[in-house]
Amino acid sequence: MTETPSLPRRLITTDLPIAVIIAFALGPYVWMFLTSVTAEATLAAEGVSVAPVEWVIDNYLRLFGRTTFLVNLGHSFIVASGTVLLGLLVAVTAAYAFSRFRFPGRRLLMLQFLVINMFPVVLLILPLFVLMRRLGLLDTHAALIIANATIAIPFSVWMLTSYMNAIPESLDEAAMTDGCSRLGALWRIVLPLCWPGIVATGIYIFITAWNEYLYALTLGGQNVRTMTVALQTLIGEYQIEWGLLTAGGVVGALPVTVLFLIVQRRLISGLTAGSVKG
């Protein structure tokens, strides 16, 4: 493993297998895109158009012209943004407590936030439905934001704790010596310094909430139908219009894929940093 292999050898043992795996990882994406730019008639007669000259945007025009997909994207955006706000808001102070204090019950509380993330969605989804119905919140943005927060809050607490741990405690103390309160130190010193971590966490929550399906299906309805639920309704009554459906898939996946590629490096370093010690 120490010597550098020759170029042809490297191509065969490294580049080629990697290319195959990437083709496997991205193939379905490419296929979805190609389907979305193929005219519905062509799709039925000849199959997917691979050549760019045959590409058409009919499916996209139909998607935005004749369906409510744009509205659904709006609902997804509201729900995802609301989840980010709620999640980060309550997680910031909690993370600061875990990062800077040692107190009785700390371990138990940290484990509690970890456990929440692992409980089956099915166990929560039924009582949440009953709860929302009782509160009259079914089919509102609030219901979906609350449901998504069940995942977002514990996740943010853990992420932010690990980001805050990376900021030296001595900075807080210096600030407090200069007359800052504890919360002042959090607000003026720690938050500005772990801003990139907060953004990465927020984006990850956004992606998760944007992608969420089961809660949206169960707790949403006619008024609040998010993108993921709307995609399902694009499936025609008698036969599936794959062109339209894949166009919806491309549009729905685009924002989160771009966001993910932007933050992936920071996010992954945060996520995996500690696991290495295993």
Binding site: T14, A25, Y29, L126, L128, I207, T272
Partner: protein, 310 residues
């Protein structure tokens, strides 16, 4: 997309000085918003699910909320569909998690080598992870499509198949077709975790092994594997929990069908509540599933707990 996973454990080990005297309650105040919110939206509902499971509760007959003791649980034990779903859950997890792990391991080993476009490859490989599960499921439905799906097309061109095959409509292949989809969705997670583990192994270990005359396989066996064993176990446990939990992909791809061919326990619980509106029985199924999964969660927590003890 899989649910987010907790950043594993650096968070805890860091040393922080003891509290300043005079504000012993401050950390509790700081924690109270998060704790109260999670109590209200997670723990109370969960307790309610357990209570529901001991009752007859049909959503369209809200007046008849009768305590029935263990009736729902006993009904599950005598329910054929329950046992079908039960075994499927094991087959499904037993195939998916190892497949994801193996493919993830191979990918990580390759990505750990030196080649010019390594950064790009690393970014591209995790793209499937960000995709909404619904889109993943619909995309693969299209790939598996019996009439014009690309899988049938390719296999027929390669003469591996005489006529197009309905992968998701055939009870013998539907479950395995979904396993392949989930493998596709989940292997990047393993690749990323394992890659981080690989990069933490000091280069000098390999040099020392090479001096001792270890070949490539022996280096892998005696340096690499022990080096990433911890990551492998942690990642596998986490992944097992999420794969077990994920029902959206199956729900969109087959809805459990054909027949009961792709029913799993959590899916059965969900469908029972959604279509039969039988929240009592559905909750009982969810509780049973949670108890089974609880064993794995405990194993994971014990690993984490050891580091938390600091």
């Amino acid at each position: 997309m899989p649910r987010p996973f907790p950043p594993v454990m650096t968070a805890i080990a860091a040393d922080a000085p003891p509290n300043r005297i005079g504000q012993p309650l401050l950390p509790y105040w700081l924690l109270s918003p998060a704790v109260i919110v999670t109590l209200v939206i997670v723990f109370f509902p969960m307790a309610e699910a357990v209570i529901l499971s001991f009752h007859d509760y049909l959503l369209w007959k809200p007046s008849s909320f009768a305590f029935v003791g263990l009736k729902n649980f006993l009904a599950a034990l005598n329910d054929d569909v329950f046992w079908i779903s039960f075994w499927h859950t094991f087959i499904w997890i037993g195939l998916t998690v190892p497949a994801q792990l193996l493919l993830g391991l191979v990918t990580a080993l390759l990505l750990n080598r030196k080649f010019p476009w390594r950064g790009l490859a690393r970014a591209l490989i995790i793209v499937p992870w960000a995709l909404p599960s619904v889109i993943t499921a619909l995309m693969w439905r299209w790939i598996y499509d019996a009439n014009s799906g690309v899988l049938n097309d390719v296999l027929m061109r390669l003469d591996l198949l005489q006529a197009s095959f309905p992968w998701l409509a055939d009870p013998d292949t539907a479950l395995y077709a979904i396993v392949l989809t989930l493998t596709w969705q989940g292997f990047p997670f393993f690749a990323v975790m394992i890659l981080a583990g690989l990069q933490a192994i000091p280069r000098s270990y390999y040099e020392a092994a090479a001096i001792d005359g270890a070949g490539a396989w022996q280096q892998f066996r005696y340096v690499t594997l022990p080096g990433i064993a911890g990551v492998l176990v942690t990642a596998a446990l986490l992944r097992l929990i999420w794969v077990a939990n994920s029902i959206d992909v199956i729900f969109v791809m087959t809805g459990g069908g054909p027949g009961y061919a792709t029913y799993t326990l959590p899916l059965y619980a969900f469908i029972e509540a959604r279509t039969s509106l039988d929240f009592g029985y559905g909750s009982a199924l969810a509780v049973i599933f949670t108890l089974i999964l609880g064993v794995v969660i405990l194993l994971y927590l014990r690993r984490v707990g050891r580091e938390l003890a600091v």
